[in-house]
């Protein structure tokens, strides 16, 4: 299989995630788009692991680390979103401007 197949797929998934992060207003949707971007990174790691035929499977090990970090990130992110919703009755990120000069 050409190496470009997974690389182009990962680039597409990452760009879709970038679009989602910038275009969405709802904080939960932004978290979903971030998950898409993290998955694109994982596809790259696995593809290069297979391409380089690494004896230590470094790409796969670090894909597992990225998955663990993504789980931690979404847990903290949702806790913050719930806190904001409880205090301000909204999860629209353009209305949360507490830290804006």
């Amino acid at each position: 299989m050409p190496l470009m197949y997974p690389l182009v797929f990962a680039a597409f998934l990452f760009s879709v995630g970038v679009y989602g992060v910038l275009a969405r207003r709802n904080a939960v949707m932004v978290l979903m788009s971030i998950e898409l971007m993290l998955n694109a990174v994982n596809v790259n790691l696995i593809a290069f692991n297979a391409y380089l035929r690494d004896q230590l499977a470094t790409g796969q090990v670090f894909a597992l680390f990225v998955i663990a970090v993504a789980a931690a990130e979404v847990g903290i992110g949702l806790a913050i979103v719930l806190l904001i919703f409880r205090n301000r009755e909204t999860v629209n990120i353009d209305e949360v401007d507490l830290l804006r000069w």
């Binding site: 299989m1 050409p2 190496l3 470009m4 197949y5 997974p6 690389l7 182009v8 797929f9 680039a11 998934l13 760009s15 879709v16 995630g17 970038v18 679009y19 989602g20 910038l22 275009a23 969405r24 207003r25 709802n26 939960v28 949707m29 978290l31 979903m32 998950e35 898409l36 998955n39 596809v43 696995i46 593809a47 692991n49 297979a50 391409y51 035929r53 230590l56 499977a57 470094t58 796969q60 090990v61 597992l64 680390f65 998955i67 663990a68 970090v69 789980a71 931690a72 990130e73 979404v74 847990g75 903290i76 949702l78 806790a79 913050i80 979103v81 719930l82 806190l83 409880r86 353009d94």
Partner: protein, 164 residues
Amino acid sequence: MTGQEVAFLVLAVIGGLAGLLVVTSRNVVHAALYLVVALASVAGIYLLLAAPFVAFVQVIIYVGAIVVLLLFGIMLTRAPVGRRVLDNTLRARVGAFVVGGGVFVMLTVFLADAFGSERIATQAATATAALGESLFRNYVLPFEAVSVLLLAALIGAIVLARRD
């Protein structure tokens, strides 16, 4: 074209379309369900790239845990429906499309320049035993760091979400 390539292309088209629907859907719950499809097709791609353990971890953690967590987040924040409440203004969306499309074109051009003729050799799937050996022999320090990170995230999430 081999069967592996055909399977990859089918999975990539399904995953790409599902990803597009995640960021364009008008309904938050539908977006979360499309995210399940996208993550599951990525798991299939891991299988095709000779990484079965990571594929099953993807199914268990992403599809099983993270999407459920996101659905709980949607339920607890009274999910609104509709283009206007979910998306930014048209101007911001056009800007986001330009940035996303630019990232895609730039990455594709540069990657084609660097790896355009390279091929992934057909190979046996990485045994879970070999992956575990590598993880606990060579990468045990980053593994412990990730464990501490998960613990810190757990405590942080409890502290943030606690009502006191």
